[in-house]
């Protein structure tokens, strides 16, 4: 359940919750696209703080915002190692006359062995930036789901002319998540009560051993889906899909338009400052600061 809770909507009365759902979607793009354009850790840190501020404004605790990042640890470790070893920022920044500043090797030279894993200031700064980009996109995406209810998602999408069948399917899928999770737990427990246990580290073997849990899960999902579809039809779904109305009517207020204007301006500025324009938010910004501190040319 804990993983499911990460992506569930949290009802609050906050200025962010009160925004039109379309504006919330725009917020997501306005705050994640800069993370694509920018590569500099300092700029990205500022962006991350901005996202956290929105989370706090939406009455989420700092702990609730940051704690789920633990789940990203494996991806972050992979990202930082991959960038250090295999993906230098070649061609992006430092002019050809100035070489990357080597600060050491991961595996030092021992006799005729090594050295391996060249560590440069540029690589390190770039890798930290790459890590931050992932953190920013994940945090913003998760926050979007905590302050946008599945119904609002459906409403926003229907305004973008997505067919009602699809928007309802999304809304129902979210509403039904807790039931699905509970179902899976029951199936695992029912099999454990028959002496079932996975005791292998071999992933192929483990997959085969999981069959007693996978098959009932699939079968139960199908039968449940049938009941659910019957229940949805029995409530008149499909009566006149084109003219289906809604309890909540979303309308953009003046405040929404102001926020939209701000987000669009921010988005435009971010793209100009990023690698698509002035390129001042590139990794070189921090790299130069570090090099100056170390009295190296920049």
């Amino acid at each position: 359940m804990s993983v499911l809770n990460l992506f569930s909507y949290k009802e609050e009365d906050s200025p962010i919750h009160r925004l039109d759902p379309r504006v919330k979607f725009l917020w997501f793009f306005a705050f994640t696209l800069p993370a694509v354009a920018w590569t500099d850790p300092i700029w990205l840190t500022a962006l991350f703080f901005a996202i956290i501020s929105v989370g706090l404004l939406a009455k989420q605790s700092l702990k609730a915002i940051l704690k789920p990042l633990v789940f990203l640890t494996p991806a972050l470790v992979f990202l930082i190692l991959f960038n250090i070893f295999f993906y230098g920022p070649t061609g992006l920044g430092v002019s050809s006359t100035i070489q990357p500043l080597i600060i050491g090797y991961i595996i030092p030279k021992i006799g005729s062995f090594g050295p391996y894993g060249k560590l440069t200031i540029e690589n390190l700064v770039y890798a930290v930036g790459a890590m931050e980009r992932l953190i920013i996109i994940a945090t913003a995406g998760r926050l979007l789901l905590t302050f946008t209810s599945p119904t609002e998602v459906a409403l926003a999408w229907s305004k973008f002319r997505v067919p009602v069948e699809i928007t309802t399917a999304i809304s129902v899928a979210f509403g039904f998540l807790p039931v699905t999770a509970r179902q899976a737990t029951t199936i695992f427990e029912a099999q454990k009560a028959r002496g079932w246990r996975i005791k292998t580290r071999n992933p192929v073997k483990a997959l085969r051993l999981y069959i007693p849990a996978i098959i009932p899960t699939i079968v139960r999902s199908f039968t449940r889906a049938e009941f659910l579809a019957a229940a949805i039809s029995s409530r008149g779904f499909g009566y006149n899909p084109g003219k289906r109305t809604s309890l909540r009517v979303i309308r953009m207020t003046r405040k929404d338009y102001l926020v939209v204007a701000f987000f669009i301006a921010f988005l435009a500025a971010s793209q100009v400052t990023g690698s698509f324009g002035l390129n001042i938010a590139g990794y070189k910004f921090t790299a130069c600061l570090v090099r100056s501190y170390l009295h190296a040319p920049c």
């Binding site: 409530r235 809604s246 309890l247």
Partner: protein, 568 residues
Amino acid sequence: MKGLSWKYEGSTEDAIQGIDLEVAPGEVIIITGPSGAGKTTLCRTTNGLIPHFFRGDLQGNVTIADLDIRVYDVPVLSAITGLCFDNPSNQLFNSTVEEELAFGPENFCLPSTEIRNRVNEGLQISRLVGMEKKSPHSLSGGQQQACAIAAIEVMHPQILVLDEPTSNLDPIGTTLVFERIRELVKTEKRTVIIVEHKLEDVLPFADRMIVLSNGRIVADDKPLNVLSRASLIEGMEIQVPDVTRLAYKLMEKGINLDKIPVTLDEGIEAFRKILSHRIVLPKTSLRNSDKKPPMLSDRISVQCEGVAYNYPDGTQAISELNLALREGDFVGFVGQNGSGKTTTAKLLNGLYKASKGRIKIFGEDSSGKEADELASIVGYSFQNPDDQFFARTVKEELEFGPKNKKLPPDEIGRRVREVARDLEIENYLSHSPFSLSQGLRQRVAFGSIMTLEPRVLIVDEPTTGQDYARAKTVMEICKRFNDTGKTVIIISHNMNLVAEYCNLIFVFRRGAIFMSGSPREVFSAPEKLIETSLAPPQITSLFQALSSEFDLPRDILDVESAIAYLTG
């Protein structure tokens, strides 16, 4: 309905056949009958799910308010017939209660102000005012079903069809739902069709009662006329209210009552009359005694000492649990949903680990043992057999447990043969478990625990969603197991069955044992029991109500003892 028959695709037999039925506006009809009689199929024709949603062969005609179900699809017919299903969790699919109630009116393209009015109306009907922003799945079972009924009711259908609306509910939930239905019948004068086994709750407001068997209508009359057909009722194993059954049994012995009672109050009135006129003379020498399971020993099988359990989110589920069960005990865990019965059972078989205290199974501390290790000592049969089936054949399902225990093939073969014989499923060993009827599936699920040859057996809600006959079958299997000296624990809401089979009852409330004792001890303290919103069997309540006036015993637990007591 004229000459209505329906055969599901892939089935060789008609689910319902030759149904002729006319329902007048404003009528309240109860449909009952054994499982598999075709009750749900009949309901599905009332809003067009049959023939538009389910595939099969339809014969005859059905018109709902002059609309032919062959011509009009489900969304159109659902504007006339509101159909509510048995399991609330399968029909609530929105994120909040408010959205759940709005879903129907939104489909019928009502303006948002009208939808808001309907939502408010639904909140009133379901008594969920203040909970509109909650997830429907976070509500109690009774509240969920009340929400599901309200979600149908806000569509303002002319006909309301309720298919076993309380079969998955605890006693509080059942009362809540029936109160809502009674209000709708009384205030709205709506046509209502209710499929229900708990006749005691619905008979008082029904105009007609229909009994279905093998897809045919075998009785269709005023409720008391149907109930008076003793051979029919007994043949169908319909659970007739205790006071009604007692009245008919007395009539067979030549003692006539002015009016056949159905509810407890009617029963008190009717029996007060015959007792005060000395029409029957109770045998005051007859006294009840506690029944004792045949193989009950003094050896402790399960013991809990100061056990507490907290859910992963920190909520306390069990606090300070102390109990000791003997080998050969037939135990009933009763209480409302969320009172801690199932959590206790899962602590006993190792699925949950106690946060505090000690659990001893046959004298051995079970704290270090996982569920899979304890499985062959404490067997746990889950409520729904479909939660565990995965194999191609029944035989493989039965072999699964012993194979997990790495037993030799000879031993596995012996156990499968013996269990299949005991449960009378030998002829189905090569069948797919998915192709069997619900009753057989339950037996196979049961058998797959029995092949582990546990010394303690826990059966979770064997009576929920079952008709009386099937519930009794499960109880009889448990009894046979108990007769061999094993400890059996059943978790149930059916007080009649608990009173009939158990020798020891634990009443749970708010994560602790509130009271315990023999059925006589527990049920003869109704003033204490009521604090847990449970009630003794109806016959016990009848005798208790009249005990001081006529010196009747307070511990009569079944109709047979009542008759023996009253007539000798």
